[in-house]
């Protein structure tokens, strides 16, 4: 029984990692209606930027804020330089672009900061949270930040004009243009925001998994799984999905005989496929209805 409780708590803690990343995935999906495979590497690069700033003596929160700004600008720049020229290209071209970006960012980070792991500080500390040895204050803090981020995103999309405009630009670009929304800049804004959220995710994840150029590879796959499970159009779904994937993965690895550790990663992939087949819009997403 103790093992069960421990594995669930450990799952929630890892789930927070996935939830954070899934939020960034949902953000970009809201803006461009596609999954960005380079999302993880962008977050990793942002985290390195934050790390570098701290090495130069900038205090944590200063570096944090500066990293968010730089990441936002970087996201917008990537969209303007790389993907705006491809706006009318078929989806496969975009996918190729994402993968190229992934490889480029990974190598650039490796070249600049080498591949040894680096410690990334946490503002929350590592003491046990509420007396539980299984969740540290950092992980609790991470869950907290994820929830705050979720509330902010929800408010942004539901209650601000610009949020509404962005949703319109993603789901019905043509109609949006007709009512006077600058859809092109909405996409750029989406990239910037996704990149900034990724930066937050990266800076929260790095203290746990250690900072190095490949740190987001596995995380992004689980982030995708979480976002798909929760519904790609729903920030709430992404967060819930993140925690579910984290817990499910641990329990399956511990209790289902034959799954063990070797099949832990495939579980995430199987989850993606299963959800896409049975409930393509996820647990919380809106079903897409197309008029034919």
């Amino acid at each position: 029984m103790e093992l069960l409780g421990n594995q669930i708590l450990a799952g929630v803690a890892t789930g927070a990692i996935y939830a954070c990343m899934a939020l960034a995935v949902v953000m970009i999906f809201q803006a461009i209606d596609q999954l960005n495979f380079a999302q993880g590497e962008m977050a990793m690069l942002s985290t390195f930027v934050g790390w570098q700033l701290m090495q130069w003596g900038v205090p944590y929160w200063g570096a944090f804020a500066l990293t968010l700004l730089l990441s936002f600008a970087g996201g917008v720049a990537i969209e303007r330089l790389l993907f705006k020229p491809l706006a009318d290209a078929p989806i496969l071209t975009h996918v190729a672009g994402f993968i190229a970006l992934l490889a480029i960012l990974n190598s650039v980070a490796g070249q600049t900061w080498d591949f040894t792991i680096k410690q990334f500080p946490t503002p929350f500390g590592w003491s046990p949270f509420l007396g539980s040895k299984l969740i540290s204050t950092h992980q609790a803090g991470m869950i907290g930040v994820t929830l705050v981020l979720l509330a902010l995103l929800y408010g942004f999309f539901q209650f601000t004009r610009i949020g509404l405009a962005m949703r319109a630009a993603a789901s019905m670009p043509e109609s949006a243009r007709l009512v006077g929304i600058n859809t092109s800049w909405m996409v750029a804004l989406g990239w910037g925001m996704a990149s900034a959220i990724g930066a937050i995710a990266g800076m929260l994840i790095a203290p746990v998994v250690f900072l190095e150029p490949n740190m987001m590879g596995g995380v992004l796959i689980y982030g995708f799984a979480a976002a798909v499970l929760g519904g790609l159009s729903s920030p709430l779904g992404a967060v819930v999905g993140g925690f579910l994937v984290g817990v499910f993965e641990n329990l399956a690895g511990t209790y289902i005989p034959g799954v063990g550790n070797e099949l832990k990663l495939p579980i995430a992939l199987a989850l993606i496929v299963t959800v896409l087949v049975l409930r393509p819009h996820g647990l919380f997403g809106r079903a897409v209805v197309k008029r034919v």
Binding site: L3, T14, V209, E262
Partner: protein, 407 residues
């Protein structure tokens, strides 16, 4: 049917070749890849991809040979070190090995990295009878001189390391309940086998085994599971990132087993510092090389050579990175083989000299550890010393242990 004329022609040319060869024998002998002016050495490393952290080995080796060339080369010949990227993909390693052998015409390949890549090229190299020297992997199978006489490893085999931990446990903590965390690949399984072989009849001391995949973002849940087994010793057969995660998680759970950390992830700067010195106190490991970031070697003659080399030829290199130390010692061993080979630069003689290293001590190996090989011993480094992490450095203790692998 062969006409008389063709036959005569063949006999004549054979005689001619034999004549030239005999004339050369008196002084110098060359195979493809060697000449009066240069020796071409091939190398394959993951400069890109998941294991690209090891790419720095190639840059250090290239820098080392550049230094030798500036000092006049080896026996008057310049080294032409040709290094290609395989992205840690076995298929690509085969492609690069072919390119090196057939197109670049290297004398031999030295220091291809990784168990998968070396396994992939092993058959080809042996079929072509081109030396696959000092494979950068601790897999025990690269010392199998009977089946693969053209392949030789370099660092201690992982099985040797496992045996040393087993011996330490049997001696110091015979009633231990052991938990093992291992990477699910050749490296992890090889070391685990050594541990089990070393424990012998006491293998039941292992109460829990758990493996992880390198693609997993975080291995926290494995540590939770192993702790719940009630073990009081943990053997962490892990690579750097996961080693640091495991140390940190065990500390967070307030689990304080007798902790063994596999050598590949024992770097102070690369693992223990990021994990946190406070939680790494008392961790045990075994080593054969000096740590480039450890101040205790500042006055060591060998390490002074090493630091001098870094300052001049690789100023960007991070001396805390174990791969940098590795590249230097490895290149030095290759150079030693070439020195011994003298003017007889045939592939056959390269293998012969590689299997004839006697008490050779590269600058970066621990005092007392030397490289010895013979026609029936293709494991160059077979000695290790136990060490314990105290303060901010590894403290070596106990004797230098030789762990030869039976069979």
């Amino acid at each position: 049917m062969i006409s008389i004329q063709t036959l005569r022609c063949a006999v004549l040319s054979t005689a001619l070749i034999a004549l030239t060869a005999t004339a050369a024998l008196a002084q110098k002998k060359y195979d493809t890849g060697a000449s009066d002016a240069e020796i071409r050495i091939g190398n394959i490393l993951p400069y890109s991809g998941p294991a690209s952290a090891y790419g720095v080995i190639g840059r250090i080796e290239a820098a080392y040979f550049k230094m030798l060339n500036e000092q006049g080369g080896i026996n008057g010949r310049k080294i032409n070190f040709i290094s290609y990227d395989d992205g840690y993909s076995p298929a690509k390693a085969v492609e690069q090995a072919r390119k090196l052998v057939e197109s670049d015409e290297v004398l031999f390949i030295a220091g291809a990295l990784g168990t998968p890549s070396n396994s992939a090229i092993q058959k080809y190299m042996n079929a072509r009878k081109v030396p696959q020297l000092f494979a950068a992997s601790g897999a025990t199978k690269f010392g199998d001189y009977k089946t693969f006489p053209w392949t030789m490893g370099w660092q201690p085999a992982y099985q040797s390391e496992g045996r040393i931990y087993a011996a330490h446990l049997l001696r110091e903590k015979p009633d231990a309940k052991i938990a093992v965390l291992y990477q699910n690949d050749d490296f992890g399984k090889d070391l685990l086998k050594g541990l089990k072989d070393g424990l012998g009849d006491n293998a039941a001391m292992i109460v829990a085994e758990d493996s992880y995949e390198v693609a997993e973002p975080s291995i926290d849940s494995h540590i939770v599971k192993l702790k719940s087994s009630g073990a009081d010793a943990l053997v962490s057969i892990t690579t750097p990132k996961f080693a640091a995660q495991a140390l940190k998680k065990a500390a967070e759970l307030d689990w304080k087993p007798t902790y063994f950390q596999s050598n590949v992830a024992s770097s102070v700067g690369g693992v223990l510092k990021p994990a946190g010195f406070a939680i790494a106190q008392g961790v045990l490991s075994a080593n054969y090389a000096k740590d480039g970031a450890d101040a205790q070697w500042d006055d060591d003659a060998g390490m002074k050579n090493f630091y001098g080399f870094l300052a001049k030829y690789a100023p960007d290199a991070n001396r805390a990175d174990g791969a940098v130390v590795y590249g230097y010692g490895h290149a030095q061993t290759v150079a030693q083989v070439l020195k011994q080979a003298g003017d007889n630069l045939t592939r056959d003689n390269i293998m012969k000299q590689a299997a004839n290293l006697k008490d050779f001590a590269p600058d970066t190996l621990l005092p007392g550890i030397t490289i010895n090989t013979s026609a029936s011993d293709f494991h160059p480094i077979e000695q290790l010393q136990m060490m314990r992490f105290e303060g901010e450095t590894w403290q070596l203790f106990g004797p230098i242990v030789t762990a030869e692998i039976g069979g």
